[in-house]
Structures are given as structure tokens and as C-alpha cells.
């Protein structure tokens, strides 16, 4: 499956036909609804109190409809005019903004109780014209988002990273902006149903994020450190053997192993 980010910039990709296709597909609707509900579950907002939410990359308002159903007031932002036109046709309840997330969130400090974003922020990792720097855009986005959230405000974003470095750059930018939090991966075993949720908090909050059922990914992190450490700690003999093994795997002609392999030569030699 090709990735839409690689085809065209979002405002070009989601044209009339594409936004119609996207919005009318029951499969997309179903997936979007499921992800929105999961994001709300992670946000863990107090059900009885009213909340003011920001929906980043709201598109045609598929996620916004769920927010309205759940009783939240919201404002949606998207870069595609066609998607927003579809949202207008569907008469969603929230206010809509035509805006580029990479240019920042145009709201004053402390506006929102929480923010969600469904399948949007991976678009920020792409440079669509020569004069943009994805890193800078991510930073601007997270910085302005941080300030537009109330202290203790939370942000949950589902996104489709293309590779680990995208995830890292997103997490890094969020950290620099002052957010705390991390990544939650749903269905990590399944390649198709695997979903990435970025879960961030701006400052301390009385109500924590709902992490029920989440497992710490500690072993993997440990493994990573181990690999680096192992390289540092290995003896020269181990080093030579490892290199020989790699070369053998590549089909190169490698001398046979013997008790003399990687031995130090006597000084008299």
C-alpha cells in the first residue's frame, strides 16, 4: 500500500474526489471512529464535567462527530479546503479552521482542556516544498500546541509513522516543547492493525492518562542499550570473530577459524 504522504502534500492530495472517497468509505469511518474512541479513552477526561477540545487534522469531521456524540465541544483544524467543505456539508457542530499545523496553532494560552489528532501528524514529517524544514515545523507545532493547552492538558494523537526515525523526531520535538509522555502501541504483534498513539501531557494533571492494559516495553529498550554496551565491552577476539561472521554471511572469502585467529603476536615476531 502506498502512503498518501509520499504522493502529494495534504492540501493537494485531499481534493474533491479524494475527500469524498475518504468520507463515504464505511471502512474508513469505522476505523476513524474506533481510533477516536480509543484516543478519548487514553485522554481519560472526567465524564461529568464539560470539556473544550481541539481536533488537529479534523478533515471532514469524522472524529468530530464522535466528539459531539460524547458531549464535547470542539474546534477542528485542517489544511485541506475540500475536506473542510465536506465537513460543512455534513453539518458538524464544531468550528472549523483552514490552517497548516506546521505553522502553529493560532490560539491563545490555556484555551483547550485537551487535544486529539487522528491520522494527521505524520504529514508534518514531510517537506513538501524546498523552503520548509520538517523539524522546524514539528517544533513550531508542538510549541504552540503546548501553550494553547491548559496546564495539565493532555494530547493524544494517533499517527502512522513511516519509520522509527519519524517516531523519534516527533517524540523529540514534543519533549523539547515541554510535553511529558510517550508512545503507546496497540496490537504491536499485528502488522495491519498496529496503531501508534502519541500520549502527551502539558504539566501535571489530577487525572492521569488511562494506561489500562498497556505493557511497558522495557525489555526492548534494555536490549538496545545492551547492544551498544556489548560492542564497547567486547574483546578484540570477539570483534574479529563477529566481523568474520558478517563477511561470511555476505559470501566473502574468509579465512577459517582456528586457535590462532585474532591472537596477539609475540613481541619477538
Amino acid at each position: 500500500m502506498s502512503r498518501p504522504e509520499q504522493i502529494a502534500p495534504p492540501e493537494v492530495f485531499y481534493n474533491d474526489t479524494e475527500s469524498y472517497k475518504y468520507t463515504s468509505s464505511t471502512r474508513v469511518q469505522h476505523i476513524q471512529a474506533k481510533m477516536t474512541l480509543r484516543a478519548l479513552e487514553l485522554l481519560n477526561l472526567d465524564k461529568d464535567a464539560p470539556h473544550f477540545l481541539l481536533d488537529l487534522g479534523c478533515g471532514s469531521g469524522l472524529s468530530g462527530e464522535i466528539l459531539t456524540e460524547e458531549g464535547y465541544n470542539w474546534i477542528g483544524m485542517d489544511i485541506s479546503a475540500n475536506m473542510l467543505a465536506t465537513a460543512l456539508d455534513r453539518e458538524v457542530d464544531g468550528d472549523l479552521f483552514l490552517s497548516d499545523l506546521g505553522n502553529g496553532v493560532p490560539f491563545r494560552a490555556g484555551t483547550f482542556d485537551a487535544a486529539i489528532s487522528i491520522s494527521a501528524i505524520q504529514w508534518l514529517c514531510n517537506a513538501d516544498t524546498a523552503n520548509v524544514d520538517p523539524k522546524k515545523r514539528l517544533l513550531t507545532f508542538f510549541n504552540t500546541l503546548y501553550s494553547s493547552l491548559r496546564r495539565g492538558g493532555k494530547f493524544v494523537a494517533q499517527f502512522y509513522p513511516m519509520n522509527d526515525s519519524q517516531t523519534e523526531s516527533i517524540l523529540g520535538a514534543a519533549k523539547i516543547a515541554g510535553f511529558g509522555g510517550g508512545l503507546i502501541i496497540d496490537d504491536p504483534e499485528s502488522k495491519r492493525h498496529k496503531k501508534y498513539y502519541l500520549v502527551l501531557t502539558a504539566g501535571m494533571s489530577e487525572r492521569n492518562i488511562n494506561l489500562e492494559g498497556a505493557e511497558m516495553d522495557a525489555p526492548e529498550i534494555k536490549k538496545k542499550i545492551n547492544k551498544k554496551l556489548r560492542r564497547k565491552l567486547e574483546t578484540s577476539k570477539e570483534f574479529v570473530n563477529r566481523k568474520k561472521e558478517t563477511m561470511r554471511r555476505r559470501g566473502k572469502n574468509v579465512a577459517n577459524d582456528s586457535k590462532f585467529s585474532a591472537r596477539k603476536r609475540r613481541p619477538r615476531f
Partner: protein, 129 residues
């Protein structure tokens, strides 16, 4: 765009971030419309504490409404009968009043943002990104 939103929108241009003039934006040549919304007193009270009343007065003045009280109504209770009248008025003003068409001007950098079909356009030209 709801009237309530005007109390939160500011100019996204970098140079205006630290300027006091970037908020609220100045509203010009606006067309308004009334659209019925569900009455939710709890939400109103929740939002009331974070409203900037001076900004509300300024924007209301831009839009041709000078009849608002000069101070923010406070200590409203969503259940109390006495407060219902004020809350209903606030509801009509903040949530049911929509800006359908018009211009928003940043008082600091004079950049004009257009509102069309009640969607404000905050896309920036490349030299301002």
C-alpha cells in the same frame, strides 16, 4: 465561526507571538448569523472562567454590539434559577452567534485573515511561515 472562538484566536505569525496586540484580532466587514445550538449551562460556566472579557467587549464592539455589561458576570451557577437569564443571554451571544463572512486583521502585523463560509483561513504565505 462561533463568537466564543473569537475569544481564543490570535495571530499565528511568529513575530506576533509576544506582542500584546495580536489578541484579539480586529473584525471588519463581518456578516453574522444566528444558528440554534443545544443549551448547555455547565459548559458555559466552564468556559466563563477562561474568557477574556475585555477581548469580548472589543470584538462585540467591532461587530456592532455595545450593549454588553462592562464587567464579566461571575459566580454563575448552572442550576440556579436566578442565573438562567444571564446564562441564556451568554449562550445566545457566545454559541449561537456565528461569523459567516468577513475579515480578521492582526493589530500588530496588519495581516488580513479572511472568513468564508464561517471557516477562517489561517494559511500563511511562504514568506511568513
Amino acid at each position: 465561526m462561533k463568537f466564543l472562538t473569537t475569544n481564543f484566536v490570535k495571530c499565528p505569525i511568529k513575530g506576533c507571538q509576544s506582542s500584546l496586540d495580536a489578541f484579539p484580532l480586529k473584525y471588519e466587514e463581518c456578516q453574522l448569523a444566528q444558528e440554534e445550538q443545544e443549551y448547555n449551562p455547565e459548559f458555559l460556566c466552564h468556559m466563563l472562567e477562561r474568557l477574556d472579557w475585555n477581548a469580548i467587549l472589543k470584538v462585540a464592539h467591532d461587530l456592532g454590539n455595545d450593549s454588553l455589561p462592562p464587567t464579566k458576570p461571575e459566580d454563575l451557577d448552572p442550576i440556579m434559577e436566578d442565573d438562567q437569564a444571564i446564562l441564556k443571554d451568554l449562550h445566545t451571544l457566545l454559541l449561537e452567534t456565528q461569523v459567516v463572512d468577513g475579515k480578521m486583521v492582526c493589530k500588530n502585523c496588519q495581516h488580513i485573515y479572511y472568513i468564508k463560509n464561517s471557516i477562517p483561513n489561517f494559511l500563511l504565505p511562504p514568506h511568513l511561515c
